[in-house]
């Protein structure tokens, strides 16, 4: 299953909820303000790093770049463009946007 998260971990508990509930083996795509979660030195870094053993984690590159964070992506998180976003949706059996 693909989990899509769009909130900064410093503003809302969305990523935390997703990581708490999502079944291991799925993928997590960080878009919009959620891309801050995948940057080095942010407060949620340890939490996300811990999740890398259970999930494949992706961040949307255009959202990182727009926020000037393109060079801060943490190790283990892959970046995708909108085409990659589409591929993640089609490759997984179902998806959920954690709104």
């Amino acid at each position: 299953m693909l989990h899509i998260v769009n909130k900064s971990p410093a503003e809302r508990n969305t990523l935390e909820s997703c990581l708490r509930v999502a079944a291991p083996g799925g993928a997590i795509l960080l878009i919009e303000d959620a891309v801050y979660a995948a940057t080095r030195g942010n407060a949620a870094e340890a939490q996300l790093r811990d999740a890398l053993s259970r999930f494949k984690v992706y961040a949307l590159a255009p959202d990182l770049d727009a926020r000037g964070m393109g060079d801060r992506i943490m190790e283990g998180v892959a970046t995708v463009d909108y085409g990659g976003f589409v591929d993640l949706v089609t490759e997984h059996k179902n998806c959920q946007s954690w709104l």
Partner: protein, 119 residues
């Protein structure tokens, strides 16, 4: 693949409509079919023909209209949500139509994937 999209936030205030638009564009470029884009909650404001952004900003509404025209997209605005927010046929942008919530459920049933963009 048959993909449906739902948008729950209005334009400009939130990135949801931008993300959904770029997602749809990428999906179409990859040869997928967009079954329907359904506008719900404040998302109905994406259909207002009265929208007039400054010239140096993107025009979110007309961008949807253009994409719909080019790819024969079905842009559906939820009637109950639209009436609550003053969106009616008189101020509905080109390419959009107003219909019931059943259109969202039907899209969920018919499409292989339903992707939601919102707050």
């Amino acid at each position: 693949m048959l993909i449906a999209v739902t948008i729950n936030e209005g334009p400009y205030q939130h990135q949801a409509s931008d993300s959904a638009y770029l997602f749809c564009k990428a999906a179409l470029e990859k040869g997928h079919e967009i079954r329907r884009v359904f506008f719900y909650n404040d998302g109905v404001n994406n259909a207002s023909s009265l929208t007039e952004p400054p010239l140096d900003d993107r025009n979110i509404v007309s961008r949807w209209s253009k994409l719909a025209e080019e790819h024969k997209l079905d842009l559906v605005v939820c009637v109950a949500a639209a009436l609550r927010r003053g969106i009616r046929d008189e101020n509905l942008a080109a390419g959009f139509r107003i219909s019931g919530l059943g259109q969202l459920v039907e899209a969920g049933i018919e499409a292989d994937r339903l992707v939601t963009f919102g707050d």
